[in-house]
């Protein structure tokens, strides 16, 4: 990407935006409670991706590169602007369903999702990033590459944090039926 012209860069950036539209937006839910703050984080992530794109040399996969930048920017902004998470225990995601369900199922699905997001928000430190990457569908190898830990360390942490997550969702008293 380093030798690309402006047009190539724009094209690559637009392709990245369309390919990775949702993951950066989803991760903002675990870093900020308010929609306006999430938009700020998202905007900063996109700006950082654009700024870093000319220096992307393909040392890692594009996917892990996008996730690294997205999480690092979110962490950085969360530390600088502590008000985003302080004193707010409830997330109001305001998310429409991706698929149309009947109203009852949609409501239940929304509640399950809310509990999951809150449970992820309560996890602290690197475990939070690991579990979010896992939920995004990355393999342990890819998570290790994004976070900078060994694959074994990721597996250990993931195992522990999944239990925590399961307990949190269990306490939410939401009946979860497997599909």
């Amino acid at each position: 990407m380093s030798s690309g012209s402006d047009a190539d860069l724009r094209q690559a950036f637009e392709r990245i935006l369309s390919q990775y539209e949702l993951p950066p937006r989803r991760l903002t839910f675990s870093y900020a409670a308010e929609q306006a703050d999430r938009d700020d984080i998202h905007q900063e992530i996109l700006t950082a991706l654009w700024t870093a794109l000319p220096r992307f040399r393909g040392d890692s996969s594009e996917r892990t590169w996008v996730y690294r930048i997205a999480h690092n920017i979110a962490i950085s902004l969360s530390v600088r602007r502590h008000r985003w998470t302080r004193g707010r225990e409830t997330v109001t995601p305001d998310l429409p369903c991706a698929d149309s369900l009947n109203p009852e199922a949609e409501s239940l699905e929304e509640e399950r999702h809310r509990i999951l997001v809150e449970a992820v928000r309560r996890i602290s430190g690197p475990d939070k990033q690991i579990v979010m990457l896992y939920l995004e569908g990355l393999s342990k190898r890819e998570i290790a590459d994004v976070v900078g830990l060994s694959e074994g360390a990721v597996a250990t942490r993931l195992s522990r944090v999944r239990t925590t997550l399961a307990e949190s969702i269990g306490k939410g008293q939401v009946k979860y039926e497997r599909r």
Binding site: R68, I73, H113, G125, E136, V146, V147, G148, Y176
Partner: protein, 187 residues
């Protein structure tokens, strides 16, 4: 907990986040963005420095007019110290910013180092300014004592208050630095 791992992933990815207004940065804004070589000062800091300069200049002028050489020297030192602090404040930190394309672990460490540098820099400025102020108060007290042969209790109280002020300020900085480190490890 009946949800297995695939269910968690499906649930996490099942919702389509609402996009805020204009979420995608405009290319022209991104390309035109330039970073100044100095840190802009906030309105409060500008006002504080303006008052400080004015006060120092008045004392300097008064000391010179009265031929009170210790005071003259003391205020000259303070003026130089304030000017140096302003220059340091306005100078941009030239250390490389953390690279967000690094792994999260590496970025976290770089971010922590950056905050440490920032706090050390602010602490240096704070100590420099207040140290200079205390020096002025002590020199003035010494000059008055030499001139009049007596020591007024008020002349002792001010340096003591200044030292207490420095200690309180330092505690504030250490607490802020510690809070940032703690937040960084939690997020």
């Amino acid at each position: 907990m009946n949800a297995d791992n695939d269910d968690l992933r499906r649930l996490w990815q099942s919702r389509k986040p609402t996009a805020g207004p204009n979420p995608v940065p405009r290319f022209e804004l991104l390309e035109d963005s330039t970073v100044p070589d100095y840190m802009p000062l906030s309105g409060g800091r500008r006002a504080g420095y303006a008052v400080g300069f004015l006060w120092t200049a008045m004392q300097f002028w008064q000391g010179g007019r009265e031929g009170n050489w210790p005071e003259y020297v003391a205020w000259t030192g303070l003026a130089a110290s304030v000017a140096a602090s302003v220059l340091v404040l306005r100078e941009r930190d030239r250390s490389p910013a953390p690279n967000p394309a690094e792994t999260i672990q590496t970025y976290r460490e770089a971010l922590s180092d950056e905050f440490d540098r920032q706090f050390r820099r602010e602490r240096r400025i704070f100590l420099g300014l207040l140290g200079a102020w205390v020096l002025v108060l002590i020199l003035r007290t010494a000059a008055d004592t030499l001139k009049h042969g007596t020591l007024h209790p008020g002349d002792v109280v001010l340096p003591v208050l200044a030292i207490l002020f420095i200690i309180a300020g330092l505690r504030m900085y250490y607490r802020a630095a510690s809070a940032v480190r703690s937040r960084l490890s939690r997020i």
